[in-house]
Amino acid sequence: MGLPLMINNDDNNNNKVELSRVAVSDTHGEDSPYFAGWKAYDENPYDESHNPSGVIQMGLAENQVSFDLLESYLEKKNPEGSLWESKGSCGFRENALFQDYHGLKTFRQAMASFMEKIRGGKARFDPDRIVLTAGATAANELLTFILANPNDALLVPTPYYPGFDRDLRWRTGVRIVPIHCDSSNHFQITPEALETAYETARDANIRVRGVLITNPSNPLGATVQKKALEDLLDFCVRKNIHLVSDEIYSGSVFHASEFTSVAEIVENIDDVSVKERVHIVYSLSKDLGLPGFRVGTIYSYNDNVVRTARRMSSFTLVSSQTQHMLASMLSDEEFTEKYIRINRERLRRRYETIVEGLKKEGVECLKGNAGLFCWMNLGFLLNTNTKEGELELWDVILKELKLNISPGSSCHCSEFGWFRVCFANMSEKTLKIALKRIHEFMDRRRKVLNC
């Protein structure tokens, strides 16, 4: 946390041309210890047939469980590529030339309709409030540029997605002040925790510009309760700050009724001065399993933010080709309804498989209801209840079990021993192998403890 490191350009050669602070800063986070996990995976990736003893990647929140639905849709509705080709030369021409930062109207309408569907129609989305960005990463950074100045802060509840340290701070110069949450109440955000975080910032002379939450939460894999959202909005109104809700996993909630989007709360509010502090981030990377397409959106109830974000999106436009390719798919009601329903169901079953498998080994997880991962508690295995103890255990899991999972400390969790474990980026068979490795490890451990 804090400002980027001082420049150290003058190693040996005084004539070496200088780089910027942004370029030499380590705010990108890729030098942090847990990146060793990624490296280990890259060097020895698990493969069902070719490398069954390799490292299984359980640190990447990617959704592969519903690829078959995408494939069959694209093959069926897309004979000879007609879905993706522009119709006639006029269509291609528009596609090739189109670089309007407003984005294709049909695509924005399709996104709005998809977002409504995910929320069971409990909130409406106006296509003209949708700003397109090349991914949610870009959306979060862009919003940070717009809502906060360098050295201002956003309050973010812990544990949070490690990428925020980079996405919200690196180029923007904005700080993150954590809102500490703990297991005593399932890591839910409390009004007290909000106030404490705000006071902490104020005492350090840091101006708070907003709160950014992920709902459903990454890494918890759980939705934020409606009451907590209302309290949060109330807090933001009282402090006159913004509320950003990253709802990138909204379509991955196992039971639709358990998700309350901030959009539903705002839907019933007329007061513009309350509404216009609310902004939602969404993307097709998780729910639709299309991270390679780079499609993100900012949905803002603030006209000024919409206008500004749109102009700033020139730095991160969604390819016209992508918009074209996805517009029909996302507006196909039959497909989206079926996809959302089946995807949720499969994710739920995966979640149950892993949680029950872990339970058999005496490992508890936080009660989750969404997302592509579970939040596992290995506190009882720590040698010391410290960050070092946690990283030691993580290293054992990586080296001995050959499982790359994400340690809670990388998510700024205030309690040690929690780990995020992704389960949707692999086949069921691979998941079972991962569970088997855990079983074997726990077995060995039990034997050691018993003698």
Partner: protein, 500 residues
């Protein structure tokens, strides 16, 4: 008003005690109101974008006394205002009444956007024959379509195959004497993010780049908006055909230093925009020597490298840098397919740097602006189709050349000269003879007359920071041959009405 009247009354002896106590009460009341407004809320930074208060209805949520409208950051504020550069104003005006040779013959003809549609027929044919195959890659397992090949996370800097394809393509179109190493390359979603990412890597907030002017107006937005890096124009003159000289760079640099500005590098485009001239090997060498001497960076925006139609040979800065005399690590190239391959909608950009730390930082920054995987797949297929690319580039150059000739000839017949150019999708036109006054004001008046009377959008030199008034950039590569006489006729009428 209410203050003045009672005061007058008091002064003139009317009103007496009542007014005598009313005034101080009023004053006291207004003072309290003023102080209260000053106190809440107290933003240290100004936000000129705050909208006027509207009346609020009852809400579920508590609202304290000091709740105002929530603010955006001060750096976002300039973006909220409508653009004031004639470059953007002109583009917006065309949208209100765009020319169409059949359905809207009186509309505004767009000459302000550097886009080419000259070879769409070839691209369309390629797409219809190859798009499917390039996208719908097959699974090894069952031979059916494998969506994971386009759906999954891939390295943000671009697949190795697409970088290899770009490296090869760039080498071909830049004369074949320069080779590009794919590992020094990162692929982005457009030339706009390419320029911005480089600016973020090479300069801190408040530093500056020297930039030969006239320059592409979009750089103001691309470079300055979020990075806070300044652009210092280095004025070039028609006497040199607007080619930058080392003495001009020297002068600009020393003036910058006197002002306390730290210059981190030189940014220029080659072929240049808006003039369209090709920088000679000697000029490139001189720029690089200067940069070496001052220990600053060189960014060469070569986005029009494939759109060369004149006799002069295009030489990439990469070629000059590799010639061995220089510390290459200060050289960075920008490229993209928006101009040469007419695909601005696809969003294709390339950052090429000889500095490994810049490549490393740029790679990490690509998560904010990477090229989607399906587009990468299409481009791998397109750029490696060397037979098609050769045919396309030859046609592209020839057609620009032909159109250029027609356009420049048409202007010549009106007595309107153009700067010498050999590349780009535009020409740099000297309309000073049409100015009512040889000044920026005169030029902007002409710009407005061109827009509203002649109904032509051409970008005035002022928008490009040109120091000589009267120059306009006219893009001609989206025109049909039959549009050109229409344009010339309109300019002729305007010229005649100005002199009469």
């Amino acid at each position: 008003m209410r203050l003045i009247v009672p005061l007058q009354g008091v002064v003139q002896g009317r009103g007496g005690l009542f007014v005598g106590s009313l005034i101080p009460c009023c004053l006291f009341y207004f003072l309290q109101l003023y102080l209260k407004r000053r106190r809440s809320p107290p933003p240290p930074d100004s936000d000129s974008t705050e909208l006027p208060r509207t009346s609020s209805r009852s809400s579920l949520f508590t609202r304290g006394n000091s709740i105002g409208r929530v603010r955006v950051s001060s750096r976002a504020a300039p973006l909220a205002k409508p653009p004031d550069s004639p470059y953007y104003i002109g583009l917006d005006r065309v949208k209100t009444d765009p020319y169409h040779r059949v359905t809207n013959r009186d509309g505004i003809i767009q000459l302000g956007l550097a886009e080419s549609t000259l070879c769409f027929d070839l691209l369309q044919r390629w797409m219809s024959e190859n798009l499917m195959e390039s996208l719908m890659m097959q699974s090894d397992v069952d031979g059916g379509f494998d969506v994971s090949s386009i759906a999954m996370y891939q390295p943000f800097e671009g697949l190795l195959e697409v970088r290899v394809a770009f490296a090869d393509f760039m080498s071909r179109i830049m004369g074949g004497n320069v080779s590009f190493d794919p590992s020094n390359m990162v692929i982005t979603a457009g030339g706009t993010p390419a320029v911005e990412v480089l600016a973020f890597c090479l300069a801190d907030h408040g530093n500056a780049f020297l930039i030969p002017s006239p320059y592409y107006p979009g750089f103001d937005r691309d470079i300055k908006f979020r990075t806070g890096v300044e652009l210092i124009p280095v004025h070039c003159r028609s006497s040199d055909n607007f080619t930058v000289t080392v003495s001009a760079l020297e002068q600009a640099l020393s003036q910058a230093r006197k002002r306390g500005s730290k210059v981190s590098g030189i940014l220029f485009s080659n072929p240049s925009n808006p003039v369209g001239n090709i920088l000679s090997r000697e000029t490139l060498h001189a720029i690089l020597s200067f940069a070496q001497e001052k220990n600053i960076h060189v960014i060469s925006d070569e986005i029009f490298a494939g759109s060369v139609y004149g006799d002069k040979e295009f030489v990439s800065m990469a070629e000059v840098a590799a010639s061995g005399d220089f510390d290459k690590s200060r050289v960075h190239i920008i490229y993209g397919l928006s101009k040469d391959l007419s695909l601005p909608g696809f969003r294709t950009g390339v950052i090429y740097s000889f500095h490994e730390d810049v490549v490393s930082a740029a790679k990490k920054l690509m998560r904010f602006c990477s090229m989607p995987v399906p587009v990468q797949r299409i481009l791998i297929s397109l750029l490696s189709d060397t037979r098609f690319i050769e045919e396309y580039m030859a046609a592209h150059r020839q057609r620009i050349r032909d159109k250029h000739f027609l356009f420049v000839e048409g202007l010549k017949q009106l007595g309107i000269p153009c700067a010498e150019s050999g590349g780009g999708l535009y020409c740099w036109v000297d309309m000073s003879s049409l100015l009512t006054s040889y000044s920026e004001k005169g030029e902007l008046e002409l710009f407005e007359k061109l827009l509203s009377v002649a109904k032509i959008n051409a970008t005035p030199g002022t928008a490009c920071y040109c120091i000589e008034p009267g120059w306009f950039r006219c893009c001609f590569t989206a025109l049909a041959d039959e549009d050109i006489p229409v344009i010339m006729e309109r300019i002729k009428l305007l010229a005649e009405s100005s002199t009469s």
